[in-house]
């Protein structure tokens, strides 16, 4: 098998502890907390009141502006509170609707769409009102991605799942291939493309072989070298098409749209079944929880509930743990366990900290060799810490995808990503939002 890849990258221990665990449907939580910012762009506006009865799938948040998304109630019950909660992802307080479940689901579905007859615009509108965002983690509103400003001719489905520990994309490819394929057919029609690839890392050999056999050439299966960050959008495009997305540009600039495998399922369910995005697949993993597995679960479920009821609680022997939204390379540590699951959370990883002191850079060049964007992380870190933000911007501060390969590989444990993230923030505020 010829494996496609990109230049640079690292190979952290894969730790795919749950790759053989079938996806199970989680019981309904008693209470959910639904954030109004579960997407890139402007937070949605709450349109329900405290005390109001809501049905599963009912709209509770409306989009504000072109890049925003609908938010739906994931359970049937009563709105008990609307308050701002701290979002670890956004780094600020965002509005959230608390809903207490009153019983079994009473669905409020969207009108079903016969996508083979429906127009492109109708399908995009359906995706929009279903509140679909990119489920790989970036949570970019999907309806925006489905109407690119430039003509595209290639659709790439991202099944790389290069983050260690996470296995949900792997499992959906093995268990929900029909839904994915229908989602792909719908997306193909909307984008008007004929060429579709699905990129899968070689550590999911069963999925590669299964989809090659099952889909029989309808989607080209691209076997990728197992290397982090193989699933990063730009690196995935480079590996499969050989094209480089221009600096500051979008995949559409090279005629490509990338969608996550799980997003395909959401599109299929929204269009064919009329189901808004209120549940998703997720991996609960890490050595810090007693039970690990892959779950189909309602969005808005508090992480504490997930750990107690699905994970059998935290492992007792640890005094300190990290609970991450996502995997260990780019996952966001949550400061408290009441934080709910977001649309983009493909996993909850509970791991112990590997504490290490940062020491002086010894100029080993490892970070330069592994940077998938061909940047000089040591220099960006140095300039950022010296507050030379303009100089940092000139050598590619904003090209950094924050994948963490440099910090992972660094023998001196320099925190490149931390200083780069901070420098981006400061630069943006100093330069009045430019860049």
């Amino acid at each position: 098998m010829k494996l496609l890849t990109f230049k640079g990258g690292v190979h952290p221990p894969e730790n795919k502890l749950t790759e053989d665990e079938k996806i199970q449907r989680a019981p309904l939580p008693d209470k959910v907390v639904v954030m109004m910012a579960q997407h890139a762009g402007a937070p949605a506006k709450v349109i329900v009141q405290v005390g109001q009865q809501v049905k599963t799938g009912q709209v509770i948040g409306e989009p504000q502006g072109p890049i925003s998304a609908y938010v739906h109630s994931p359970v049937t019950g009563t709105v008990t509170n609307i308050a701002k909660v701290n979002s670890a992802v956004h780094g600020m307080a965002v509005e959230a609707v608390n809903i207490e479940r009153s019983g079994e689901d009473e669905w409020e579905l969207l009108p079903k769409l016969d996508w083979s007859k429906a127009s492109k615009e109708e399908i995009i509108e359906q995706v929009k009102v279903a509140g679909i965002v990119g489920l790989g983690g970036a949570m970019f509103p999907t309806h925006v991605k489905l109407s690119p400003s430039k003509p595209v001719d290639v659709l790439i489905i991202n099944g790389a799942e290069c983050e260690p520990y996470l296995t949900i994309d792997h499992r959906v490819m093995l268990e929900m291939d029909e839904e994915i394929l229908e989602g792909i057919e719908i997306t193909k029609k909307v984008l008007g493309v004929n060429e579709v690839y699905i990129g899968i890392e070689s550590n999911k050999k069963d999925a590669i072989e299964y989809l090659e056999r099952k889909w029989n050439g309808k989607v080209k299966v691209a076997a990728l070298k197992t290397k982090y960050p193989q699933g990063a959008e730009k690196q995935l495009i480079k590996a499969i098409t050989g094209k480089e997305v221009p600096s500051g540009g979008l995949p559409a600039d090279v005629g490509v749209v990338v969608q996550n495998v799980s997003t395909m399922i959401a599109i299929k369910e929204a269009v064919v079944d009329g189901k808004p995005l209120v549940e998703r697949g997720m991996t609960l993993t890490g050595e810090g929880v007693n039970k690990r597995g892959n779950w189909w679960i309602r969005i808005g479920t508090p992480i504490s509930w997930i750990i107690e009821n699905l994970g059998g609680g935290l492992v007792n022997k640890y005094n300190e743990l990290k609970v991450l939204m996502g995997g260990p390379m780019m996952g966001i540590p949550v400061p408290n366990l009441d934080t709910p699951l977001l649309k983009g959370n493909n996993g909850i990883t509970v791991i112990s900290e590997q504490k290490r002191e940062s020491t002086n850079c010894i100029r080993c060049s490892y970070c330069v060799y592994v940077c998938p964007m061909n940047l000089q992380p040591y220099l960006l870190d140095l300039l950022a810490r010296k507050k030379k933000y303009d100089d940092a911007a000139a050598i590619g501060l904003f090209d950094c995808i924050e994948c963490g390969s440099c910090t992972y590989i660094c023998p001196a444990n320099v925190e490149h990503v931390k200083s780069i993230k901070l420098a981006k923030k400061v630069y943006r505020s100093l330069r009045g939002g430019k860049k």
């Binding site: 997305v245 260990p328 390379m329």
Partner: protein
């Protein structure tokens, strides 16, 4: 139970600066063995003294003078001390070595800010410092004795092959030695520089462990071979053969272990090519034209000084940008 929120990535390699330094020391063990075999026990004593004194001095500077309680010895000073010892003649008095260590660690390394901050390779700068301060000690060489337990006072002085080439011509070199002796190190010279084969063995270990900017020795040695091949064709008697220049003197020690020092070499592949080429050409210029018979130390130090400029002008092309978009 406490929730931790330190920033991503949340997994790190188990690698560390100390592991890198230990790998370098392991890679130098064959050279120490060769030095001890050819020059006797004094070679081993100097090597250990260099390592221990350098590490002790660094500990003193950081823990006592700088009051840095978090400092943990990482072995980088030991590497410097060992490399310095390997760059000395076997009869160097112990106190000369200590002066060299003091200069390397206190002046070259720590006045510039310590680990990772120094511009010049501390061991090489100290060697040149000693060469200027103690010219006699630093240019008196001994015939190998080929016995691990031999003592240096029993052995005779000799000239290094490069000095013979410079003063008497290429054919005179082979009156007292041959390529076999040159390759294994059975010739006069510094403790650690003479055995090309065992140095290469250590280099293979570093290569296997990924601890080396491998482009540098490749271009360094390549350019030495190229330059000497050209001049050999012009005048073999005066300039000597490429193989001779490869095996004689400090080229192997310099190219494999000094020019590859992580701290004092360029960060990008292109920069490393320039660095290696510069070292190679400069080494040959000194060997052919300058007053000293050997130019490895001087050329590497000179290229060390150019590293900031090289780094500035060899920035890699950022993913998704065209060449001319960058500064």
């Amino acid at each position: 139970m406490k929730l931790l929120t330190s920033p991503a990535p949340h997994v790190r390699t188990q690698d560390s600066t100390r592991k890198i330094m230990i790998d370098v020391i392991i890679a130098l063990v064959p050279a120490v063995i060769a030095g001890t075999f050819f020059f006797g026990l004094q070679a081993l004593i100097l090597s250990i003294l260099g390592m221990v004194s350098a590490e002790a001095l660094e500990f003193f500077i950081l823990r006592v003078l700088r009051k840095d309680k978090n400092f943990k010895p990482n072995g980088s000073a030991a590497v410097t001390g060992l490399l310095l010892a390997l760059n000395l003649s076997v009869a160097t008095p112990w106190w000369v070595l200590l002066i060299g260590v003091l200069f390397a660690i206190a002046i070259v390394k720590h006045t510039f800010g310590g680990l990772g901050q120094n511009i010049f390779n501390p061991a090489l700068a100290a060697r040149v410092f000693l060469l200027v301060s103690f010219p006699n000690v630093m240019t008196t060489w001994y015939k190998p004795i080929a016995s691990f337990t031999g003592w240096y006072t029993d052995i005779q002085t000799t000239a290094t092959p490069l000095a013979v080439l410079k003063s008497a011509g290429f054919s005179k070199v082979f009156e007292s030695t041959n390529y076999f002796n040159l390759a294994f190190g059975n010739v006069g010279g510094c403790i650690g520089e003479t055995s090309a084969i065992l140095l290469f063995l250590g280099f293979l270990y570093l290569l296997f462990r990924g601890r080396i900017k491998v482009i540098i020795p490749a271009t360094y040695i390549g350019s030495v071979l190229l330059v000497s091949a050209i001049f050999y064709n012009v005048n073999p008697e005066r300039f000597g053969s490429p193989l001779f220049h490869l095996l004689a003197g400090g080229l192997m020690l310099g190219a494999l272990f000094m020019a590859t020092d992580m701290v004092t070499t360029p960060m990008t592949l292109k920069g490393q090519v320039i660095f290696g080429l510069g070292c190679g050409i400069m080494t040959m210029l000194v060997r052919y034209l300058a007053g000293y018979p050997e130019g490895v130390s001087l050329s590497i130090l000179l290229m060390n000084a150019l590293v900031p400029i090289i780094d500035r002008h060899t920035q890699p092309k950022i993913f998704g940008r065209r060449k001319n978009e960058q500064k």
